[in-house]
Amino acid sequence: MQKTDDGQHAHKKPPVLEVRDLVKNFGGLRALNRCSLKVAEGTITGLIGPNGAGKTTLFNAITGFFQPDSGRVLTDGQDITSLPPHGVFNRGICRTFQIPREHGTMTVLENLMLVVPDQAGERFWNCWFRPELVHRQEREIRDRAMEVLDFVNLTHLADELAGRLSGGQKKLLELARTLMAEPRLVLLDEPAAGVNRTLMKRLSENIEYLRRERGITFLLIEHDMDLVMRLCDPVIVMSEGRRLMEGHPEEVRNDPHVLEAYLGGQYGAA
């Protein structure tokens, strides 16, 4: 796959996401150690690194899940460090969880319909006094949800309780939910872990399509190197709570540090 190097471009406009010197300590453990990185608009940026490198923690800090001990998170140049999770979401940033967190007693369809922001019916008086508006929106939202379900191959499970999905299906649901939100930036935490490779291949094509056609930016944590190589550019490598390096997939793959810390023997040989 051919990628355009728009590094120049990124300097003019503030990056979609910028993380500056983020620090997060857990007791004595420094999970993020002045981590800084930028994600340019319209890219699918890969984030890789050994287990426990702090990737998920970084996501948590970006999305307001944890308050970082210090450092800043900016989107389009605006500070969102101390926003609560829903505030971050409202800035167009959406994420998935590494360990799926579905709404178990709601159906798959409801899980998706829920996500759409600013529904009139979310204010209960509208349900009493403006039912027509709510009716109209609900229909639109449902139709969208069905499209998204089709996209991730879960249509047949639309009315199943989300808690009853298999491990991999839950991961797909996580992905599907981000697509309901029409976000600018999607943070995906290991979307492929536990997902069948054939399906994942199709999904990655769709992600690429979303980037191209809708201009959604992706930041993607993944351990499946085939996927990363195929999909991501640039790739950021994290280790011990900080950014180790960043570059095109090929560069990263051949970097001796990365080989040593992350890829291990099998890719080293390749």
Binding site: L29, Q98, G167, E190, G194, T198, L199, H223, Q266
Partner: protein, 235 residues
């Protein structure tokens, strides 16, 4: 005679039937892979073997005995261990305690020696041995789960997607360990989405789809079967 013999098992949750007439075997010392798309019923099969679900029809034999009605703790006593796909660590216990729980049935003496062995496999765990497992990263948890299952020296280990969430390097390490374990005696039944790798190492494999047994063969055969490749291996 096979160590584990699943004989046309039908099982499911509540009213829904997930597995239909599934049969499979694991022989002593063998490594067997199960692959298949999401929701195929792989985890359900593992749970059924391990007594967390009881088969509605069919039987499961282990080491010659019918174990279909037994409770998991009774099955553990017979020498089978299981690494579940999800919630596979005690989140409130420390890493070290998690490992000790793995050896709950073991005799007192050699626990610390076994723990050291696990620490050798996964040095990261030694560093974090006093951290609560719930606070570990996704991959680290996976190591804890594997580690605790290996604390007993079982005859058969069931592993549900052990490599999910692990870095490529760790995947390598884990599979190496699995191979090593397998070589040292125990049979292994493994469910993997990283099918390429696990089939390469396995003696035999099964393909499960929609709760039914679709293909069966040696690892080699399955890897080279074009249909299997297209449908399930992402080829």
């Amino acid at each position: 005679m096979a160590l584990l013999d699943v004989q046309s098992v039908t099982a499911g949750y509540g009213d829904t039937e997930i597995l239909r007439d599934v049969s499979m075997q694991v022989r002593r010392g063998e490594m067997v892979s199960i692959i298949g798309p999401n929701g195929a019923g792989k985890s359900t099969l593992m749970k059924t073997i391990f007594g967390l679900l009881h088969p509605r029809e069919g039987k499961v034999f282990f080491d010659g005995d019918d174990i279909s009605g037994l409770h998991p703790y009774q099955i553990v006593e017979r020498g089978m261990c299981y690494v579940p796909q999800v919630s596979n660590v005690f989140t409130e216990l420390t890493v070290a305690e998690n490992l000790e729980m793995g050896a709950f049935l073991a005799k007192k003496g050699d626990i610390s020696a076994r723990k050291e062995r696990i620490y050798d496999y996964f040095p990261r765990l030694k560093e974090r041995r006093n951290q609560r497992a719930g606070k570990m990263s996704g991959g680290e948890r996976q190591m804890v789960a594997m580690g605790s299952a290996l604390m007993l020296e079982p005859k058969l280990v069931l592993m549900d997607e052990p490599s999910a969430g692990l870095s490529p390097k760790m995947v390598g390490v884990i599979f190496e360990q699995i191979k090593k374990i397998n070589d040292s005696g125990p049979a292994i039944l493994i469910v993997e989405q990283n099918a390429q790798l696990s089939l390469q190492m396995s003696d035999r494999g099964y393909v499960l789809a929609s709760g039914e047994n679709r293909f069966e063969g040696t690892g080699e055969e399955l890897l080279n079967d074009p249909e299997v490749g297209r449908l399930y291996l992402g080829g």
